[in-house]
C-alpha cells in the first residue's frame, strides 16, 4: 500500500472513504451500475481522472499554465482513430497509432517547452493557446485524414466490440461483452497511469517541481536548472494526456474535435483541477468524478425537482432541466468561492 500510493496518503478520513468508494464504484461499475449510459459515464470518469491528474502535474505541482493539454489529449485519440481507419481494426494498428501519438506528443511538448518555458508564465500560456488552436484548426481542415468536423468512426479489434460475447452465460446478471473488456482496459490503464503520476509527484523530482513552483529563483540558486525540470514535467504531463486520449478513443470508437480538442474541454479540465484541489492528485479524482457526474445527471435531477415542484409558481421553471448549465455555473462559483484550496484542501483542513 505504501509503495503503491508512494507514501502519499489521503490524510483525511472522509477523503480516504470517498476515494475508496470512487475506486470501488469504478472497479465494479459494469456490475453495480449496469446499462450503457452509466458505463459511459464511468469510462469518462476514468479517462478524465487521468487527464486532470496529468494537468495538475503542470498547474498544481509545477505552476505552469498551459492551454495545450487538450491538444495532447487529442493527439492520442486521433492516433488511435487514424490508425484504426487506415490500418484496419488490428491490435498492431492500435499499437502503431498509440506509439506514433506518444512519440509526436513527446517531441511537440519538448519543442514547446524548450522554446518557451524560459519566458514568463503568461507568455507560455499564450503560446500553448496558439499552438492548441492551430492543431484544432488543422484537425478540422485535414478532412481526408481526420474526418474534419465530423470526426472518424472506426472499428476496433473484435475482442473489444459490443457484439462479442466472452462468456456464454451472464456473470452476476451481466453479459460479458467486448464492451466490458474495453471498460476494464480503460479502467486498468487509467489506474496504473494515475499511480505512476502519484509516484512522480512524490519522487525527488516531484519535490523539485514544487520548489520551482514556490520560488524558481531560489531553486536555481541551490542548483536546479528550472528549464530542465519544467520541460521534463511538461513532457511527462503531455505523455499522460496522450495516454488518456488513447484510452478515450478505444472506449468511444469515435474521435472528433468536440470530444478531444475543443477549448470547452480545456476549460472543463481547469475547473476539475480547481474544484478538486490544485497540487494534490487526489483532487483530480474528486474533481473529475463530481464534474462528469454533474455534467451527465444534473439534468435528470432537475427534471425530478421540476416535476416535484409542479404547481408552485416560478420554482418549476427555475429548476427546469433546460437551465442545468445555469445551476452548474452557480455550483462552480460557490465551490471556488468557499473552497479556494479545493475540496481536498478543505477536507485536509488547510485554510
Amino acid at each position: 500500500m505504501q509503495r503503491l500510493l508512494s507514501g502519499d496518503y489521503p490524510r483525511s478520513r472522509v477523503l480516504g472513504i470517498v476515494l475508496v468508494l470512487i475506486l470501488a464504484g469504478l472497479a465494479l461499475a459494469p456490475f453495480v451500475f449496469p446499462g450503457t449510459r452509466s458505463l459511459n459515464v464511468a469510462a469518462k470518469i476514468c479517462v478524465f481522472i487521468l487527464l486532470v491528474a496529468s494537468y495538475d502535474l503542470l498547474l498544481g505541482y509545477t505552476g505552469i499554465v498551459s492551454f495545450a493539454h487538450t491538444m495532447f489529449f487529442g493527439l492520442g485519440a486521433y492516433g488511435i482513430g487514424i490508425a484504426a481507419t487506415r490500418l484496419g481494426p488490428t491490435w498492431s494498428g492500435l499499437a502503431v497509432g498509440s506509439l506514433a501519438a506518444l512519440a509526436l506528443s513527446a517531441l511537440l511538448s519538448l519543442a514547446i517547452g524548450l522554446l518557451s518555458l524560459r519566458v514568463k508564465t503568461i507568455f507560455f500560456a499564450m503560446i500553448t493557446l496558439a499552438v492548441a488552436s492551430f492543431f484544432a484548426i488543422l484537425a478540422s481542415q485535414l478532412s481526408w485524414l481526420t474526418g474534419g468536423e465530423d470526426g472518424l468512426t472506426y472499428k476496433l479489434p473484435e475482442l473489444l466490440l459490443p457484439g462479442t460475447k466472452l462468456l456464454e452465460a451472464p456473470l452476476l446478471g451481466v453479459v460479458i461483452s467486448g464492451r466490458i473488456v474495453s471498460y476494464y482496459i480503460v479502467f486498468a490503464g487509467a489506474l496504473c497511469l494515475f499511480l505512476a503520476l502519484l509516484r512522480v509527484v512524490n519522487s525527488p523530482f516531484g519535490r523539485v517541481l514544487q520548489a520551482i513552483r514556490e520560488n524558481d529563483f531560489r531553486a536555481e540558486a541551490i542548483g536546479y536548472r528550472s528549464v530542465v525540470y519544467r520541460s521534463a514535467a511538461n513532457c511527462l504531463s503531455a505523455l499522460a494526456a496522450t495516454a488518456a486520449g488513447i484510452l478515450y478513443a478505444v472506449w468511444l470508437r469515435y474521435v472528433g474535435p468536440d470530444t478531444t480538442l475543443s477549448l470547452d474541454i480545456m476549460i472543463d479540465i481547469l475547473l476539475m483541477v480547481v474544484i478538486g484541489g490544485m497540487g494534490t492528485l487526489y483532487g483530480a479524482v474528486i474533481g473529475a468524478t463530481l464534474f462528469v457526474i454533474a455534467q451527465n445527471y444534473l439534468q435528470d435531477l432537475m427534471k425530478l425537482a421540476s416535476d416535484a415542484a409542479a404547481g408552485i409558481p416560478l420554482l418549476p421553471s427555475l429548476v427546469h432541466p433546460d437551465r442545468w448549465l445555469l445551476w452548474l455555473g452557480i455550483l462552480f462559483v460557490l465551490s471556488v468561492y468557499h473552497f479556494p484550496a479545493g475540496i481536498v484542501g478543505r477536507l485536509r483542513g488547510n485554510k
Partner: protein, 259 residues
C-alpha cells in the same frame, strides 16, 4: 593587490568584472582573487555594488565584461545552477526561501541537489532517509531542529535568516557567500550565525566571502577586507590596515554612521 595571500591556487578569481545597467556602471572592473581557507569581508556604503558583485560571481546576473574563475576554470558563461553544482554556495541578503514548504523540506531540497538526486523520478522522496537525516543535521547546527515541520513562511525573521544559512550549509560548497547574514537579527541570535561562520572558517579549506556592515563582526572574523565604492575596488588588505586607511575612513566609515 589581487594576488592570493598564500602560495596556493585561488579558489575564486574575478578579472575586470564589470556590469552596466544602461549608463550606470554598478560593478567596474573588479579584479580580485580569494584563496582557500580565507575569510574576506566585503564592505562599502549602500549602493557600492557589493550584492551586485555577489550576483555576478554566483551567476544571478551576467557580466557585461570580465571573467569569473572557479578553481582556475572560467565559469563566466555558466548559469547559476551550474555554478552551484561546481561548489559555489550563496545565502541571500533578502530572505529567499520556499515559503509554503516546511523548514525541513527547504533544507532537504538543498541536500538533494548536492546529492544530484533531482532527476530521480521513480523513487519516493521519503525513502531516501539519508537525505532527511542530513537535512536534520544542518537544522540542528543552526538551532532550528524544533521547527522542522513548520512552514518556512511561519518562521520569525531571525529564524528565517538561520534557515537561509542552513540551506547554504546543506549545499556543502567550497565557496561560501554570505550577504549580510545577521541583518535584522536580534542581538541574542547573532552569535549563532557568527559561531557557524567561525566553524566553517576553522575547517581550513573553505573560502568565505562575507558582506557585512557591522564593523565589530568584520574585525572579529575577517582576515582580509576589500572595499567597494561606486562599483570600484578601492582598498584591499589586512583588516586593521584597511579600516585605518584614509580612503575607507572617507568613503565608508565616515559616511556610514550606522553600524
Amino acid at each position: 593587490m589581487s594576488e592570493p595571500r598564500s602560495g596556493e591556487h585561488p579558489v575564486l578569481e574575478t578579472h575586470d568584472l564589470t556590469i552596466r545597467f544602461g549608463g550606470h556602471v554598478a560593478v567596474n572592473r573588479v579584479s580580485c582573487a580569494f584563496g582557500p581557507g580565507t575569510l574576506t569581508a566585503i564592505v562599502g556604503p549602500n549602493g557600492a555594488g557589493k550584492t551586485t558583485y555577489f550576483n555576478l560571481i554566483s551567476g544571478q546576473l551576467s557580466a557585461t565584461g570580465g571573467t569569473v574563475k572557479l578553481f582556475g576554470e572560467d565559469v563566466t558563461s555558466l548559469s547559476a545552477p551550474q555554478r552551484t553544482r561546481r561548489g559555489m554556495g550563496r545565502a541571500f541578503q533578502l530572505t529567499n526561501l520556499f515559503p509554503r514548504l516546511s523548514v525541513l523540506e527547504n533544507v532537504r531540497l538543498a541536500v538533494q541537489s548536492h546529492a544530484a538526486m533531482g532527476l530521480n523520478l521513480f523513487s519516493v522522496w521519503s525513502s531516501h532517509v539519508e537525505l532527511i537525516e542530513r537535512a536534520e543535521h544542518y537544522l540542528h547546527r543552526v538551532k532550528l531542529a524544533d521547527r522542522r515541520d513548520a512552514l518556512a513562511s511561519a518562521l520569525a525573521h531571525g529564524d528565517q535568516r538561520k534557515l537561509e544559512v542552513a540551506i547554504l550549509l546543506a549545499l556543502d560548497p567550497d565557496l561560501f557567500m554570505f550577504d549580510e547574514p545577521t541583518a535584522g537579527m536580534s542581538v541574542d541570535e547573532v552569535p549563532v550565525i557568527l559561531e557557524l561562520i567561525h566553524e566553517i572558517k576553522n575547517q581550513g579549506d573553505k573560502t568565505i566571502l562575507l558582506v557585512e556592515h557591522k564593523m565589530d563582526v568584520v574585525r572579529s572574523l575577517a582576515d582580509r577586507i576589500i572595499v567597494l565604492h561606486q562599483g570600484e575596488l578601492v582598498a584591499d588588505g589586512e583588516p586593521a590596515v584597511v579600516i585605518a586607511s584614509p580612503i575607507v575612513q572617507q568613503a565608508y566609515l565616515g559616511l556610514a554612521g550606522h553600524e
